[in-house]
Amino acid sequence: MPSPDAVAHVRARSPFVDDLPEPEGTLHGAVLPSPVAHGRILRLDTAPALAMPGVAAVLTAADVPGENQIGGIVQDEALLAQGEVHHVGQPVALVVAATPRQARAARDLIALEIEELEAVFDPRRAAERGKLIAPARTIACGDVDEAWARCATIVEGRADSGAQEHLYLETQACLAVPEARGRLHLFPATQSPSGVQRITARVLGLQMHDIEVEVQRLGGAFGGKEDQATPWAVMAALAAHRLARPVKIVLGRGEDMRMTGKRHPYSTDFRLGLDGEGRFLAFEATYYQSSGAAADLSTAILQRTLFHATNAYFVPNVRVTGFCCRTNLPPFTAFRGFGGPQAMFVMESAIAAAAERLGRPARELQELNLLRENDPLPYGMRVRRANARRSFAEAVERFGLGRRLREIEEHNAASPLLKRGLALMPVCFGISFTNASLNQAGALVHIYTDGSVSLSTAAVEMGQGVATKIRRIAAGALGISERRIRVESTSTSRVANMSPTAASTATDLNGMAALLACRMLASRLRTSAAELLDVRAEDLELRGERVLLSGEVTDLGWNELVAATWKRRVDLTAHAFYSTPNLHFDPEEGRGRPFAYHVFGTAMVEATVDLLRGTATVDAVHVVHDAGRSLDPLVDRGQAEGGIVQGLGWMTMEDLVHAEDGRLLSDSLATYKIPDLHFTPTALEVVFLEDAANPAAVLQTKAIGEPPFMYGIGAFFAIRNAICAARPLAVDRFVAPLTNERILGMLDGKREEQGARSEE
C-alpha cells in the first residue's frame, strides 16, 4: 500500500503548522533578536512598538510568569534575554500583533541599546580562557603514552570541520491556542513534544498537564527541531497565555537562519601511531567543539563525538578528550550524526595523513584496521555482528574498485587539467541515545468496534517514514491490512514523557512499543477467538484479516472477532512501553555499553577537480549499507540517499560565513547553498547488505536516519585525492568544507586555505 503520507503530500493535503486553520482572533508574533554578539542591555524601550497599529503586546523577560529558563541539559539559556545578550540573534522581545506584517513593523521600532562586551567566536580561544560549558570529557583505553614508543610512524595534525545549517524547508513555527479551564494546546514544529511541554510549564509556571503539545508532521528537521524548536513554541505559549488569544509564530527564512543553532564546528588536534605494517597502535585527539552561547545538547553531542573517535577501526590505545567551548554564537545543536560525523572526519584525516606520509593508499590502511567481530571499542563495548569488513569487501568487489582505480589513473595521466580521485569511507555508528534514560518509548493502540485501529506513539513524522514503518509493524502484528490503521499525530496527552524523535531511534523504540501493544491486543483477540471457536488459543493466529487455526483459515474474520471481543467486555485498548535493555555508561569512567548495536557500511566516492577553475564535482557515490532486515526498502533507500547528499553538502559547498562581529552573512538560500539536483551525482547507488538481520532491534531491522550521512565524508577525501594527483598537499591540515575558494587556495599552494577561518 502506498504510504498515506506520500499520497497526502503530492496532493498538498499535509498541513504544516503555518497551513493549519487559524482560530478566530489569532495574533502573530515577531521576535526581536540581539544585534550584537555579547553585551549588556542598557535600555529596552518597547513603547514605540506598542503604539503601532494592531499591536496587542510586547513581551520581554519581565513578562515571564515562571522561570525565564529554557535550558534542557544545562540550565543556562533564557527564553528572552535578561541583562545580557550572548549571541547575535538571541531573542530579546516578542511583539504580538494582528498580522505578521504589523508585528514585524512594530518590532523594528523597539529601542534597544546594548553596551558591547568582548565576544569570542573561536573555540580554542574560548577554551584558553576557560569558557567551558562543562568539564572536559575523556575516553581512553590501553596505554597511549607507552604505545607511541612502539609506533613505526606517527602523524600529527589538525582537522577542522564547519557548521552546517539544517535548512529544513519548513521554518520554525508554533501555533498556541488557549483552551477552556486554563489549558494550552500547542502545535509546534518540534521533534520533542514533551520537551516543549516541560519547558513551557516551567516558563509559564504551570503544570505539565495544563499543556498539550501535538505534532502532526514536520517539514524536515534533521536535529534542528530537537531543542531549537522550543523557544518559539514557548514564546507563542507565553503570549497566548498572557493574552488569552491564539498566537502564531512562524520564523521567516532569514530569521530562522540568523537565530537558530546549527551543526557544531569542531577544531581538533590529532595524533595517530602505526606499526611497521600499518596497523593502528595509538590514537589521541583533542576536540574543541564550538558550542555556542548556551549548552543546548552540546555535552551529549560531544559525548557521541568521543564514542565515534575511531570510527570503524580497531585501535588498542586511545585517549580522546573533548571540550564544549562557549562561544558567542547561536547555540549549536543536534544535526544528523550528532557529533559522530565530526569525529569520523578527524579519524579519516589522520588516516589520510598517515597514508600520504607512508606513500600508501589510505584504503589499504583503512582495510587493514577495520573492526572485527568482538573487537572492543575505546569505551569498552565490543562490536557484535560487525559488518565493517563485510561491507568494505562487498563495496570493493561489487563496485569494481580495481577497475575504477585503473580508469582514474589512466584518466589522470591523459588529462592535464582535470584530475579524478576516489576515496572509501567506512562507517560504524552506534545506535541508542547516549543518555541511557532516553531510550524508552510508549505506544497507545485502540481497536474500534468497526475494526479500525488508531495508533499513537512518541514518534514524530518528519519525512523519515516512521509512521509508515510503525503502521507496517502494527499491521503485521495484528494480521490486518495497513489500511485499517491510522497513525495519529504525536500528542503529549496520548503518550506521556516522550523522548525526542532523534538519534535514529524512532522506529527502534516506538516501533517496538507499538509491536508490544499490538501483541497484547492480538493475544486478547486470540483468547476471545479461542473461546468463540472452542479451540486452544495457542493454535490460533491472526493473518490476512482472518483467524487461522493451525494454519488453516477459519470462518472468523477480523471484523466479527473485534465485535465479538468487545461484546465479551475485553479491553480493545493497549498501552505498551519499551526500554532498550542492557544499556549503561559511566561518563566519569568513560566505559560501558552505551549502544544497543552498531550500523556499518562503506561508501566509494569519486570526484573530479578542475585544476584550471579550482572547482570540484562529486561524480559518483556507491554504498554498501547494513540496514538490517529492512522493513521498507523504499523508505530506507530514501533515508540513505538523503543523508548521503546532506553529508556531501557539509563537506563541500555548505559554508556558514560570519562577519567579524559575529553576524551571519550567509543568512539566506541565496548565500548559503545546499545541494541541488545538478550537484547530486547521477551515479548514487545504495545497496543493502544481505543477510544482515539484527536481533537487537524491532523485527531484525536497523536504524537508518543518521549513519548514511557520514558517507558524505568520503567526498572530502576523494576531492583531496584528486588534488593530490596534481600537487602535494600539507599532511597536517584538513579543513572542511572544501569550498571552491579553498580548493583554489590548495591548488595555488596557499597554506592558509587549509587553515580554519576561525583562526582569524
Binding site: V7, V10, L169, L611, G638
Partner: protein, 476 residues
C-alpha cells in the same frame, strides 16, 4: 487598474483579487484565498516550494510558465490563468503524483507541491519530453530530504510512461487534458480567458518598471506592495529575438529562458544554451529579463557580463520619444548607478552578429554550479585572423563595483598570437585591471586569482589546440 480589482482564472474559477497589486501571489493564494498547498520556503525565488503556473493566451491557444509565486506581483494575474497545486489535484492521482509516490520521491513533503507543479510545467512547456528535459525543468526546486535520487527515478518513471508526442506548445494543454495528464479544467481554458472581463493590466506609465521582478521583489517586496507598478511584460511588441541587418535584436523584456531557447543565438554562439543555463533556474529564467539584469546593474549580473563581451548596445527610450543608443560598456557608471535617466526604459538590446571566424566563451564560478550568484563570472569574444587574435572583448563580474568591460586587457589582446603566452599575459592584465572586495562570495584575493584562472579557461575552451600541459605547468 480596474475598480473591482484584478480578474483572473484561479485554477478552474474566475475570481477577483482584492489584494494590493504590488503584493505577491504567494500571499494572495495563502492568505486571501486560503489555498495553503503552495508553500513558503524562502520568499526569494531560491527554493521552488511556491511554484505556480501562469498561463496566458498565445496564438490559438495558451502559453504556460512555471514561476515563483513569492516574486510574482498580483498585478501580473490580470487576465491570466493561475494554477496552484490545488488545481492540479484531481480525484485520482495524476501520472506525476503517482510517479512521486511510487518512487518515494517525497519525504517530509514540504517541497512536494512545488515539485508537482514544476513537473506539470515541464509537461506543458518543454520542447523535449526526455528525462534530462524534465530534470532541467525542476532545477529550481530544492529538496533537503531526498537527495534527489528518488526524484530522478520518479521523473524517469514519468517520462517513460508518457505516450505523448511533443506537438505544438500552444495546444499542449489540450492534448495533456485529453490524455488525462492534466485535469479537465485545462480544456477550453483559452476561450474562458477570452471571455473573462478584465481591465487591461496596467501599462501605468508612472509606475515602477517591473520586468521579471526577480531582483525587485527579492530586495524590496515590502515597499513595492504599496506602489503602482508598470508591468513591462505587458508591453512586449516583437519576438524575443530577431535580426535586423547585421544585428541580433533582443526584446529587452524577453525572458532569459526565451533567450536560452533561441535557435538563432545558439547558432551564433556555441554553447549558448549551456551558458544561459548557468543563470538562476528555469523557474527564475521564466520571468527574469536581460533588461532587468542590466538595469539592476548588479556587479555580478551574468547577462551584463555576457553582453559586454558581445559588444551589445542598448536602445533606451521614454514613452513617445525617439530611442537613443548607448554602448553597454558605457552604461554602468558606478555601483548600481547607470546611464538611465528617470522615466527611461531599455527597449531593445542590439548584438552584432559574430564574424565568421570568431570565438565566444562564458565562465562562471559560484559556490554551487547552478542556481547561484557567481563569485566571479567572465565572458570573452574575439575574432581570429591567421592564427592571431583580431579584436577581442573581455568582461568580468564580481571584481569591481560594476559589471566590468576589461578595456585594457581587451586592447592588449588584439593582434596577439593565439598562444599560451598570450593567455597568461591576458590573465595577468585582467587581474591587474580589477578591484574586487571581500564578501560572502569570496575574498578579494580569491576573486583575483579566480579571474586569472577563468581567463585561461577562455583560451583553453576557445582554442582547443593550445597545449594544455603548458597551461597546467604554468598554474602549478
Amino acid at each position: 487598474m480596474s475598480e473591482g480589482g484584478i480578474r483572473l482564472i484561479l485554477n478552474g474559477e474566475a475570481v477577483t483579487a482584492s489584494m494590493a497589486p504590488g503584493g505577491v501571489v504567494l500571499d494572495f493564494l495563502r492568505r486571501e484565498r486560503g489555498l495553503r498547498g503552495t508553500k513558503e520556503g524562502c520568499r526569494e525565488g531560491d527554493c521552488g516550494a511556491c511554484t505556480v503556473l501562469l498561463g496566458e493566451r498565445a496564438g490559438s491557444g495558451m502559453r504556460y510558465r512555471a514561476v515563483a509565486s513569492c516574486l510574482l506581483p498580483v498585478a501580473e494575474l490580470a487576465g491570466r490563468h493561475l494554477v496552484s497545486i490545488e488545481g492540479l489535484d484531481g480525484e485520482r492521482l495524476s501520472a506525476i503524483q503517482r510517479a512521486i509516490v511510487e518512487e518515494g520521491a517525497t519525504q517530509c513533503g514540504f517541497c512536494t507541491p512545488g515539485l508537482v507543479v514544476a513537473l506539470t510545467g515541464f509537461l506543458l512547456t518543454s520542447p523535449g519530453l526526455g528525462e534530462e528535459d524534465a530534470m532541467e525543468a525542476i532545477d529550481g526546486n530544492i529538496c533537503r530530504c531526498t537527495g534527489y535520487a528518488s526524484i530522478r527515478r520518479a521523473v524517469r518513471r514519468l517520462v517513460d510512461g508518457l505516450e505523448l508526442e511533443p506537438g505544438a506548445l500552444e495546444t499542449r494543454h489540450e492534448a495533456l487534458a485529453a490524455a488525462g495528464l492534466l485535469p479537465p479544467l485545462f480544456a477550453g481554458i483559452a476561450a474562458r480567458l477570452d471571455a473573462l472581463e478584465h481591465a487591461p493590466a496596467s501599462a501605468d506609465a508612472g509606475g515602477i518598471p517591473v520586468a521579471g521582478g526577480t531582483d525587485l521583489f527579492v530586495v524590496e517586496a515590502a515597499r513595492l506592495r504599496k506602489e503602482r507598478l508598470r508591468l513591462l511584460s505587458r508591453e512586449r511588441r516583437g519576438e524575443p529575438v530577431s535580426e535586423e541587418g547585421n544585428l541580433i535584436v533582443l526584446d529587452a523584456a524577453s525572458t532569459m529562458e526565451e533567450l536560452r531557447q533561441s535557435p538563432l543565438l545558439e547558432a551564433c554562439f556555441p554553447s549558448w544554451r549551456r551558458f544561459l543555463g548557468l543563470h538562476s533556474s528555469t523557474l527564475i529564467r521564466n520571468r527574469a529579463t536581460p533588461a532587468g539584469n542590466i538595469a539592476h546593474a548588479s556587479p555580478i549580473g551574468d547577462m551584463s557580463v555576457v553582453l559586454l563581451a558581445l559588444d551589445a548596445r542598448l536602445q533606451i527610450g521614454r514613452d513617445g520619444e525617439r530611442a537613443r543608443t548607448v554602448a553597454l560598456d558605457r552604461f554602468f557608471l558606478g555601483y548600481k548607478e547607470t546611464d538611465l535617466a528617470p522615466g527611461e526604459l531599455i527597449t531593445r538590446i542590439l548584438v552584432p552578429r559574430p564574424a565568421p571566424a570568431s570565438r565566444f566563451n562564458f565562465e562562471k564560478v559560484s559556490r554551487r554550479q547552478h542556481l547561484d550568484i557567481a563569485s566571479v563570472n567572465t565572458a570573452f569574444s574575439c575574432t581570429v585572423e591567421d592564427g592571431a587574435i583580431g579584436t577581442a572583448r573581455l568582461s568580468a563580474g564580481g571584481v569591481a563595483p560594476i559589471p566590468l568591460y576589461l578595456a585594457e586587457s581587451s586592447a592588449w589582446l588584439s593582434g596577439r598570437p593565439v598562444s599560451v603566452a598570450t593567455a597568461l599575459g591576458a590573465a595577468e592584465r585582467a587581474a591587474a585591471e580589477i578591484t574586487p572586495i571581500s564578501d560572502v562570495r569570496g575574498s578579494a584575493d580569491y576573486k583575483r586569482r579566480l579571474l586569472r584562472r577563468l581567463v585561461l579557461a577562455h583560451f583553453v575552451t576557445c582554442f582547443p589546440g593550445l597545449p594544455q600541459e603548458e597551461i597546467a605547468h604554468a598554474i602549478a
